[in-house]
Amino acid sequence: MLFSRSDKVLFYTTLPLVVGVVALLLVIASLFLVQAWPSFERFGLGLLLSSTWRPSEDPLAELYGLAPTIVGSLYVALLATAISIPLSISLVLTVTEVLPRGLGTPLRYVVEVMGGLPTVVYGLWGSSVLVPLLRDNVMKPLHEYLGFIPLFSCRPLTGYSALAASLVLAIASTPYMTALLIEGYQMVPSKYREGAYSLGALDYEVYRIMLGILKPYVVAASLLSFSRALGETTIVALTVGNSMRLTACLLDPTYTIPSLIANQFDSAGLYRYALPTLFAGALILLLACLVASYLGIRIVYAWRERVHV
């Protein structure tokens, strides 16, 4: 395996770093498990299935159930990703195909810069500007006219809700997803495009063919974006309403795991089982993100090999 001296030096100097990175992940995961164990032991499955956050100085009276936060996290992240897929795809086509290069490239830069903005900027804008606007112009009409659909059956009160959080989150994660997709789009070998044009395809048909090839990559980018949305804290904590209630209604406030940790970590140390419960939440989040990211990355690799034959 190791051919020359310089190869060996390279191998042995980078080895500790590589091992360190992998070890760090394992250490974090096992630390979380150790920290979370008392909570798993005490509450068992109820920790995942019930919905309560009741800290108490008397450990016997403490009761926690993370169900709303687990469901809320998945719900909000799924919805946000679903909203940002069409946004990102249209941005990709606009930037790479429709606009002339002189306009497309600057727009691409703008999108990339937006992806680098601190999330708290989106969160503050969302909570102070978008949420009241949404409540009065979107949520109230939705509830009034489509209230018979369970998704809109609850009355919007403050506007802080799963819907608001997903929307702000979608806006914030669109640049990331767009950047991923542009990269993928440019990786599609030009022979497909050339072949399509030579057969007399119209622009629109070429885009459809290109997107068809890109489809697995879109799935992968969505998974990566979903994994990021799952862990997003600031935006969600500021817009989701932070209410410990299991609900399917989009207009109701709900909770997510990162938001729960952000809200409760300060004083969790005061109670015996609060901190372990937060660690249990963090562990669940870590596992979910790992699975989503792993699937995403695997699909990307498989796709790259297939598309380049």
Binding site: S4, S6, D7, V9, L10, T13, T14, P16, L17, T52, W53, R54, P55, S56, E57, A61, S127, S128, V131, P132, R135, C154, R155, L157, T158, G159, Y160, A237, L238, G241, N242, S243, M244, R245, D252, P253, A262, N263, Q264, F265, D266, S267, A268, G269, L270
Partner: protein, 385 residues
């Protein structure tokens, strides 16, 4: 590329060099960081007296006042005080793990913790806070003030009083009959765990025990009003204020200093003498001085009942929702210079410091100053704890 092997070899050397440099930089960075880390995580102060740094952490409510004190104390005595605003719980955790020299906390130690640290930890009241009830009722003239009682507040937060023109509210506000609308009340509360929630719910429990039971008291509460779909949470005082501002017909509670600086419409609360009193510096201080006679005499005493005691205090002009915030310190520290600095700091905080209050923060009453002044005498050199 005339000589590909050579070019490749050159590339590799460069790569190896880069890697070596990267590793070396990492090592240097780590080596440089470690002493810094250990310095901030273990309270081992440097030997010369001018270099003593007092470190503290805790309640975010205390932070603005603590920063002001730190600035003025540095000017007056030349000793730096660092304070991290991490929350009451995290702050005392850091104190117990001996990461910081003192902790700031809104609630005093519970009975359990007190018995665990009895004689080891001093609890010193340093500042008075109060909770204001804010509301947003479109159409209510700005000069009209809504008066509420503990029973009504408790029933609103339980979801039992549903409309602004409920007979119970109108009975306390006869002049607003016809003005208060038949609109549902949206009850906004803190979503993060907070000393403000603790003070507010303890007050409801003390003044209206039949409506607001003991298990609804604490830093975080399972709000009954959420279950009926008329409750909403906001993160921090800002979050609650924002939710109330943008939600018509809502009600919320925030720290008094926040309500004052933001100019939010504030409710009067009916006190134990049956009068409606607005939260002001005078009305809060009046409440505290009426309750001050029952304060413990020493920082080493059990303070766990005090939050309950000072709420709903007697007196015609007393605003019923008030509380102390505390500084916790150990009684013994190994370093003589640190002990000296801590003594001076505490003494300064309860004398000169009380004249430097940030707007909305209130100085402690005379009886509490006496307790506070006892603390410097109790701190001594010895093994920590």
């Amino acid at each position: 590329m005339n000589n590909p092997t050579k070019a490749l070899g050159g590339k590799k050397t460069v790569l190896t060099l880069v890697v070596i440099v990267a590793v070396a930089t990492t090592l240097v960075a780590v080596a440089a960081l470690v002493p810094q880390l250990t310095q901030t995580t273990t309270p081992t102060p440097t030997p010369t007296p001018t270099r003593v740094v007092i470190s503290g952490a805790g309640a975010s409510f205390l932070a603005p006042q603590m920063f002001e004190w730190a600035r003025a104390f540095k000017e007056a005595k030349g000793v730096s005080v660092e304070y991290q605003s991490v929350g009451s719980g995290a702050g005392r955790d850091m104190l117990f793990k001996k990461v910081v020299h003192f902790a700031g906390s809104d609630p005093p130690l519970s009975k359990d913790l007190y018995s665990k640290y009895e004689g080891k930890v001093l609890q010193i009241p340093v500042v008075v806070g109060s909770v204001a009830v804010i509301y947003n009722i479109p159409g209510l003239p700005a000069n009209e003030v809504v008066c509420l009682s503990a029973e009504i507040l408790a029933q609103i937060y339980k979801g039992e009083v549903r409309y602004w023109n409920d007979e119970k509210i109108l009975a306390l506000n006869p002049h607003l009959r016809g003005t208060l609308p038949r609109e549902e009340i949206v009850a906004v509360h803190r979503s993060d765990s907070s000393g403000t929630t603790s003070v507010f719910t303890t007050y409801l429990n003390k003044a209206a025990p039949s409506v607001w039971p003991k298990d609804l008291v604490g830093l975080t509460v399972d709000w009954p009003v959420d279950k009926v779909g008329r409750g909403a949470g906001g993160k921090g005082n800002e979050g609650v204020a924002q939710a109330v501002k943008t939600t018509p017909y809502s009600i919320g509670y925030v720290e008094l200093n926040y309500a004052i600086t933001q100019g939010l419409p504030t409710a009067a609360i009916r006190n134990s003498a049956g009068r409606c009193v607005k939260p002001t510096v005078e009305s809060v201080l009046s409440a505290l001085s009426n309750a001050a006679g029952q304060l413990p005499k020493s920082p080493l005493d059990d303070w766990s009942e005090i939050p309950y005691l000072v709420l709903d205090a007697p007196g015609e002009n007393s605003y019923p929702i008030a509380s102390f915030s505390y500084v916790f310190i150990y009684r013994k520290y190994p370093d003589a210079q640190l002990v000296q600095a801590l003594r001076e700091f505490i003494k300064w905080v309860c004398t000169d410091g009380q004249k430097l209050m940030v707007p909305g923060y209130l100085p402690i009453p005379r009886e509490a100053v006496e307790v506070c002044l006892r603390a410097p005498e109790l701190i001594e050199v010895g093994e920590v704890g």
